[in-house]
Symmetry: D2
Subunit: 225 residues, 4 copies
Amino acid sequence: MSKIETPVVILNVKAYQESMGKNGLALAKACEEVTEESGVSTIICPQQFDLGWIARQVKIPCFAQHLDAKDVGSATGWVLPETAKEAGAQGTLINHAEHRITIADIDALITRCQTLGLTNVVCTNNIQVSAAVASLNPDMIAIEPPELIGTGVPVSKADPDIVTGSVTRVKEINKDVVVLCGAGISTGEDVKAAIELGTAGVLLASGVVKADDPKTVLLDLVSGI
Amino acid sequence: MSKIETPVVILNVKAYQESMGKNGLALAKACEEVTEESGVSTIICPQQFDLGWIARQVKIPCFAQHLDAKDVGSATGWVLPETAKEAGAQGTLINHAEHRITIADIDALITRCQTLGLTNVVCTNNIQVSAAVASLNPDMIAIEPPELIGTGVPVSKADPDIVTGSVTRVKEINKDVVVLCGAGISTGEDVKAAIELGTAGVLLASGVVKADDPKTVLLDLVSGI
Amino acid sequence: MSKIETPVVILNVKAYQESMGKNGLALAKACEEVTEESGVSTIICPQQFDLGWIARQVKIPCFAQHLDAKDVGSATGWVLPETAKEAGAQGTLINHAEHRITIADIDALITRCQTLGLTNVVCTNNIQVSAAVASLNPDMIAIEPPELIGTGVPVSKADPDIVTGSVTRVKEINKDVVVLCGAGISTGEDVKAAIELGTAGVLLASGVVKADDPKTVLLDLVSGI
Amino acid sequence: MSKIETPVVILNVKAYQESMGKNGLALAKACEEVTEESGVSTIICPQQFDLGWIARQVKIPCFAQHLDAKDVGSATGWVLPETAKEAGAQGTLINHAEHRITIADIDALITRCQTLGLTNVVCTNNIQVSAAVASLNPDMIAIEPPELIGTGVPVSKADPDIVTGSVTRVKEINKDVVVLCGAGISTGEDVKAAIELGTAGVLLASGVVKADDPKTVLLDLVSGI
């Protein structure tokens, strides 16, 4: 079971120029400071090559952006749950809209993460897929309509029904699953709306990563909680 | 153009339990010591999550095990040349037998690595594929018959013609390309045989990673040069 | 909604030498004769290149073995629901163990098949994945433990709990979904056992395709119903 | 070795609504009529589900749009060279811009096609990839800059150097390889320009498939030869 405190703001830094290497570390430090100052739980998902380096330097949880369901061993270039754990990750995103995997692999990764004590956040694209994933017993589900990702138009405003519908259907199937929402989130008001729609937090990326002053944006975001 | 000195021994640590986290760092340190003691060039390819952490702690070159030909930006969980560079990598494997990519992506990654100053080593599976890749102007080609990978039966003994054939065909097309060989290499004798067949070094994995004493194996390997 | 009569025997001819071209047509004709003689519903999934040719020559339903969730248009070499429909298919397998797809694509294909009037059969590998797929409202789910496929050891004997568990969980979530089972089925006794475990039929392949006399095997299979 | 007469016009009908089922057959018949009337060699690549059905009804060669490098046998939904051959195909496209495959698979498919007597046409995206593929000994190479596909802007006008460069480099490596060009071709003038640049024909799609009167467009196209 996840030991992540909710509500939570998860920052996926993707593969932006603004989040590589030292920039990625600065973003992680900004999250850490915001958590210290506000008491609100934040999580950062560094770029894959930076995970081990950043996870050893911040106190907030670091998550992998993606894992591959390959066996430990001869798997050149693939990223495994066991290596993420060893690198200091406390969890992972699974099945992000930019990195979809098969349903059999989602299922296998959830099981493997649970064995390792890695918190898993499975991304979904609509209400019925959220309901489907709930049957696989993930720790968290992040509903993100792909068409809103990166737009700055928050899902909580553009399509509140997909959020409340996901929360309702997921809880019917498995009340222990934590539901987050993502796509277009960039302000404290968006986060507040997401919480009011029944989620336990948000997953976001460009709104922070590409901001002139990420810490200020993060402070605004957590003010919505 | 590559600044890697040849002959060279490249250690791909794959995704073994024995090469995760601290074990991976110990393998990198062993390579570093062997290079210092022997003067022979070694390169390590850490697990992807460990790249940035290990690259900052050793003087020998660290290479990525694999790169994805995605654009910088919204590419959650994908591993980019730009991030590898920023993490401290000096090069990368491309198209390993366990992680094949399209020919268009091999071509695009070679170009992108050259722009970034990352040395690229493209893996191939037979003579005509080696010849084909030579036209794409990589820095290095590592010929590895997939059926010999992980067997301990060295390609230099089991199939010397594939090595000499690759060297000949590659040099005909592009004399600047450095040719290595891999698969089944585990002793100094294997390395010596590889050099005598016209290669500039070897790519290996399990023979070192799974050894009781990797440094001793590495010292034996470089003794073949 | 599916117009397929149950109980049903679905024959997936895969890509065997014994099921290409004329051999594939002969297998379809054998299914047709068995349905005529026994009154039991059979369905054939011809090799993809043979679909349009075979579907125009038999009265039993022909299903595609797989569909891609690509848009109609510039999709060279991909296989679309709309083309399958036009070719005479009445349905399709989705997410077979040998051709897994993402959960978002399973969801999209189910919706698209419903619009086109194509019956969809989604393959699953364990109880929780069966439950998950039930939330996507497929017409049918075929539970097939991958480790039993092609063994001749019937799932109904080797792992009856995975069958009854899938039936129970699927019906809880969506009572309209028809549950089949597959993997290792080759005799009428296996089919009888599958029906007794609560399924509405079976999905099978090598047991018929590689038989000396497929029609005799099919007659034995339907005798279990 | 290919028995296809050149110059040749290859029509890839892709997965358009206008090329499914009966529409696909009508396009094949139009090609057949144009070949009969003009004496110019044409080839059609029907949609995959239609291949066996159309190949049995026209005298011109039918090619698969794509093949998978899977072994004959348990390969549900994959499309194999052996099945294409049995369905009546005389050849195949390989590595189309909309369906890229690995270099190892291109190599394996070329060899397998040669064994089966299937003519192979490997698509490439630039000069060095054309040169690379030439080392794999394909029957034909079709150079198609991806950014021009479907634009109506002919590669022969927009980027003649990529065509002449490909012809030169390919012939240097393997003078027996036939070079075609594609992308944006829609008139006899485009075909004439392609031939003058040293190619032996063209590969095209939307310009014919989406035309109000495909036969008229085809007649214009072959007039360029």
